[in-house]
């Protein structure tokens, strides 16, 4: 059976160059923190990877801290905000968008439990944060603003430069979760002027279990993991040498990737969108199509439920994902689509197709061989299609 992988926002296949780099590093058992040659050799590999990651995001090398992934990077920043607020008379609150990744939202909720105020910034129907609302929320009490660069479910890209400018104007620090953005679109921490940014290796054809946090020089910092002097005391724990080497290679490869995504993948993704709109009735495309990643297409099929569509597609070898609660085993549908659309039928009926550089127009044709019939079949057995709601 043909295999069409369109779930690259969940994770990507490791590229051959990453596998090669990691395979070559496999025998290198030295502890990078050791002073002897074997340890130093491993340390050198880590520092080379750091250079590659720094270059990809426009940072200086000492501004990159390796972590276990996007979740740890996000948790670390939200906890820094908590520390700032606990040690400061003026700073009392943080602002995050309503569509952040759970690793930001849940970390913020933990602060809330400890009495810290968290304000949730609304988004419009396209998933763009409402800047006027941010202006009203911001005050000298704001310690941190955290808004993701591009959303993982819809691909909608925010105006982080402007949001960051407003945050700084109010004296707040700015964090952006850029896990989905790097390697897909141009991303430069210096140009954006953010204080913190989160990255993950496995979204850019690197290995799982490794990521990075950008911390601008002189920005306030407190470690999340303690008990070691690694990363200049900013992240304790023996280095994940192998993962970091893989991340470094993936970052190197990702340098030219945004151009390829824009020129090759974006037209293929748009083809799928247009074909779906043309051949399936009553379809809603989710996310601001004027400001979106080149590789994410999110579509709602009212009357059909997302997990069912996903599993039918899987039956034909097509991998996708859904914002339906049923797929996650949760009781609530996607908080992102609910924040945008406030319509459970659209949230439950959503499918995300996320492309990688290996996808082709053949993949789109293959999806279109099956998708219209699947939606039609599920609608034909659906209670929502009888008028008997």
């Amino acid at each position: 059976m043909k295999n069409v992988y369109l779930d690259n926002s969940a994770t990507t296949e490791m590229s051959p160059s990453v596998i090669r780099a990691m395979t070559n590093a496999l025998g290198n058992y030295g502890n990078p923190s050791s002073l002897h040659s074997i340890g130093h050799n491993a340390k050198k590999m880590i520092e080379q990877a750091r250079e590659s990651v720094a270059k990809l995001v426009g940072a200086d090398v000492d501004e990159i801290i390796f972590t276990s992934g996007g979740t740890e990077s996000n948790n670390t920043v939200i906890n820094i905000a908590g520390e700032i607020i606990n040690n400061n008379e003026i700073k009392k609150e943080i602002i995050i968008s309503a569509i952040e990744h759970p690793s930001v939202i849940e970390a913020a909720k933990r602060l809330e439990k400890n009495g810290i105020k968290v304000s949730y910034l609304s988004v419009d129907r396209g998933g763009r944060v409402i800047i006027d609302e941010l202006r009203k929320m911001l005050s000298e009490k704001t310690a941190l603003v955290s808004v993701m660069f591009a959303n993982n479910e819809t691909g909608t890209i925010q105006d982080i430069k402007e949001i960051c400018r407003l945050a700084h104007e109010a004296g707040a620090l700015m964090h952006t979760d850029a896990v989905q953005a790097i390697g897909k679109v141009d991303f430069d921490v210096k140009d954006l002027d953010v204080d913190y940014a989160s990255f993950s290796a496995h979204k850019i054809n690197g290995p799982k279990g490794v990521g990075a946090l950008y911390v601008k020089k002189q920005s306030l910092y407190s470690p999340f993991m303690v008990g070691g002097h690694q990363e200049a005391g900013r992240r304790a724990g023996t280095y994940n040498t192998l993962g970091i080497v893989g991340f470094g290679q993936a970052a190197k490869d990702a340098l030219g990737a945004p151009k390829k995504y824009q020129e090759i993948i974006n037209p293929i993704k748009n083809d799928l969108r247009e074909l779906i709109l043309k051949s399936i009735p009553r379809v809603i495309v989710n996310g601001d199509q004027e400001s979106t990643l080149p590789n994410i297409l999110n579509v709602s099929f009212p009357g059909a439920e997302g997990e069912s569509i996903l599993l039918y597609l899987d039956n034909y070898g097509i991998s996708s994902s859904t914002g339906s609660a049923c797929a996650s085993g949760d009781t609530k549908p996607s908080h992102v689509l609910m924040a945008m659309l406030d319509d459970p039928e659209l949230a439950h009926g959503s499918i995300r197709f996320s492309f990688g550089l290996d996808n082709t127009t053949d993949d789109v044709d293959y999806v279109m061989q099956y998708l219209p019939k699947i939606v039609e079949d599920l609608r034909s057995i659906s209670t929502l299609e009888t008028g008997d709601k």
Binding site: G303, A304, E305, E307, S308, L311, Y312, D314, N315, S324, A325, C326, A327, G329, T331, P333, P344, E345, H348, S380, I381, S382, T383, L384, E385, T386, D388, K389
Partner: protein, 133 residues
């Protein structure tokens, strides 16, 4: 999906080829009891239509909006109760349906096995109509 599928083979079979589905309009099916459970907010909804004669479920049709286990469990339930006395059918539980399906993931159980509730409502609807006459 093959060996790596998240549900059992029986669930897969009923999901991909659901039995006793009401396709088209409900006017095309001669029923004397109808029950609805669930709602779109939680992501699963079922309608069950029954044709009862001499307190026996002669025929049953259904429609479901929901995930694979919701579709499969309604399909399985419809096969289990066809030809059954209504007193017995009334006592069908989610456990029995899930067992027949070869088990369901824990997190799916309560949200998706709603077919028995819809069936009970359909039987109640039949009994109410009968007592009205």
């Amino acid at each position: 999906m093959g060996d790596n599928w998240v549900y059992s083979d029986i669930v897969k079979e009923h999901f991909l080829d659901p039995r006793n589905v009401l396709r088209g309009s409900e006017a095309d099916f001669d029923f004397n009891g109808k029950g609805v459970v669930g709602n779109v907010v939680c992501g699963d909804q079922m309608i069950v239509y029954v044709k009862i004669e001499d307190e026996i479920i002669k025929d049953i049709k259904w429609r479901t909006y929901g995930c694979a286990s919701a579709i499969a469990s309604t399909s399985m339930m419809s096969e289990m109760v066809k030809g059954m006395n209504i007193a017995e059918a009334y006592k069908i539980t989610p456990d029995k349906i899930a067992d027949k399906l070869g088990g369901l993931p824990k997190n799916k159980f309560h949200c998706s096995v709603l077919g028995d509730g819809a069936l009970r409502k359909a039987i109640e609807d039949y009994l109410n109509k009968k007592s009205d006459n």
